[in-house]
Symmetry: C2
Subunit: 358 residues, 2 copies
């Protein structure tokens, strides 16, 4: 029998539609039997609970947090100066074991900063990462890092691969995850100094590393874990969002212009709704942090009640899997990591002996 | 009156549908008055011309090239070992002034290698780049580099910006191009060491540099020139292609499943055709090389006759603009470039005094 989990801490003040949508999402999750701690200014949160007619019998507690991190706050400064902010206090609950994990739709830099500040990184992890779950044609591939670490070393990418593989196996339930590094071509000779060194190391690891994948493979679902630096990952994710938006817009226009009056409009709406449902980021439930000492999820800034409810469920799934406890073992120095370090040292030396400038 | 241009050299052997589609595209362009030199095995090319019923009166010459670069040939080796290959000989015609420019739908690495090998880079250009023209909601932004230079220095990005700005102004006819660096956020503090150093330098330049843009801005048309390293550019472009394909596929499925029999299918087809036409890479006509001493265009490997015809027209437009002659002046050391060099030196020093490892 699984051990009874502590409740999920939910930052009531994060996101464009906070606290209303957040509280509503928490209520929906609680109605489905998940225990919640809402973290935010107590009076305001209780008002929202009343406004949404939350029954007293629901498993929802409120934990007072006097301060709120704004979207334009500097993440590190917010954690240090606003000691009573709802993100930080959510992580404090996780650290104390009073919550099994937390989710916030607020300032994502501040969520990562809060995780580092309160939970810290797991022994041996060089840089924690933000995973994103991608709404692919089949399956839901993980992609990491999505923006936590923009300037990467090969060993960071190697660890992202090891942590992502563990998450895919333990939380997403993929039997033998196919792990790839995102690159500008499939051949081994492609990529940058960074990706080549990381790929060389991962080829010697015990995980199912299949080499490079390309931008066009992200949404196909051929790969379960897609590894990249935080800069490229963020650009790819936002490029994907932008492309989906533009294509949908163009299709909507041509459907409305070619179709016969109301019927065309109706068909268009149905089709777009169908597609939107398939690619619905809200059902994905946010992006888990990996490499920090506990469970934290970043939910989309535009999260509505459904997105928050899904995210709460994902936090629960992650907590049940105990993947956090296994990360230290997953990233422990193996031949792959030692190799990556060696490649790095060699590259460094090469740059000094013979500058790359031709 | 504009000086009469030399013909456009067309690699008859490049691309998935060569030589048939290439020859057909050349014939179509010639029928619209553009003079062409088809470069490839003479007998084979003449057979194709006959097969497509090309009138003898069309302004098409054939220039014999005994060898062909295959898609899996190593670009540099192909140029050195296959001295009679159609890509190399096309560039020889450009160099000799017998062609105003060339286009190939073949191995893109080999096209860039051929350009470097035969034409060489323009004085002062550190690294030539591949521009891509993006089918945006409005306008047709340029994005560079798309894969020629994967490991970049700040000064390369600065030069990409200067060359892209010139191309946008002189060839695309944009009055005052808005130039942005692709990054993981809009704020100055975002980006990598690379993008921050390049942005700092460009802020001091005289071009219309507007700062960072994000992946979601590529297709909106808000920016005229989007600057990035060849790795990120390639990933973004392929991610975009992949997303468009997946969304189209999903929409097609939902349209066919929700709509009422034949009418639904018809509407679906019309809508998809309308959108495809707007985002048609074939009409864009290929990706110009910038920074080499002459005009070369890489056309899509899947190019059909329409794509080749459009590319030939773009080569002509580029040749008419004389932008190649102005590149040396555009990249000549300015305060921006000197600043980028200084930033690079400082970064380099910093890495050695205090390693970034925390």
């Amino acid at each position: 029998m699984p051990h009874k989990l502590a409740p999920v801490a939910v930052d009531a003040m994060g996101g464009d539609h906070a606290p209303g949508a957040i509280v509503q999402g928490a209520i929906n999750a609680a109605r489905n039997g998940l225990a919640i701690i809402l973290v935010g200014p107590e009076e305001r949160v209780r008002d929202e609970l009343r406004r949404h007619h939350a029954a007293k019998s629901l498993p929802i507690e409120v934990h007072h947090a006097a301060e709120v991190v704004e979207m334009d706050d500097h993440p590190g400064q917010a954690m240090r100066r606003k000691k009573q902010n709802s993100i930080r206090l959510s992580f404090e609950l996780v650290k104390a074991g009073k919550a099994c994990g937390m989710v916030s739709a607020g300032n994502s830099g501040a969520v990562m900063a809060g995780a580092m500040f309160v939970l810290g990184r797991i022994d041996g992890v060089e840089r924690p990462a933000i995973c994103s779950v991608v709404p692919a044609l089949k399956g839901n591939p993980l992609m990491l890092d999505m923006g936590a670490v923009v300037d990467c070393k090969p060993s960071y990418l190697v660890q992202f691969a090891l942590m992502g593989e563990l998450y895919s196996r333990k939380v997403a339930g993929v039997h033998k995850p196919r792990v790839a590094i995102l690159s500008n071509g499939e051949e081994e000779t492609k990529g940058t100094d960074l990706t080549r060194a990381a790929a060389a190391a991962l080829r010697k690891s015990s995980i199912g590393f299949v080499g490079y994948c390309e931008g066009r493979d992200i949404l196909t679902g051929e790969f379960d874990v897609i590894v990249t630096d935080g800069f490229t990952g963020n650009v790819a994710l936002k490029t994907m969002e932008g492309a989906v938006k533009v294509v949908t817009e163009l299709l909507k226009r041509s459907l409305y212009s070619t179709a016969i009056s109301k019927l065309g409009g109706l068909l268009a709406k149905k089709a777009l709704d169908g597609m939107k449902k398939r690619m619905d980021w809200r059902e994905i439930g946010g992006a888990p942090l990996v490499g920090v000492n506990g469970i934290g999820f970043i939910s989309h800034g535009r999260s509505d009640a459904l997105a928050i409810e899904c995210a709460i469920r994902r936090v629960r799934d992650a907590a049940r899997s105990h993947f956090v406890e296994e990360i230290a073992a997953a990233v422990a120095p193996t031949e792959a990591l030692v190799e990556a370090a060696r490649a790095e040292a060699a590259q460094h030396a090469a740059r000094h002996v013979a500058p790359t400038e031709a």
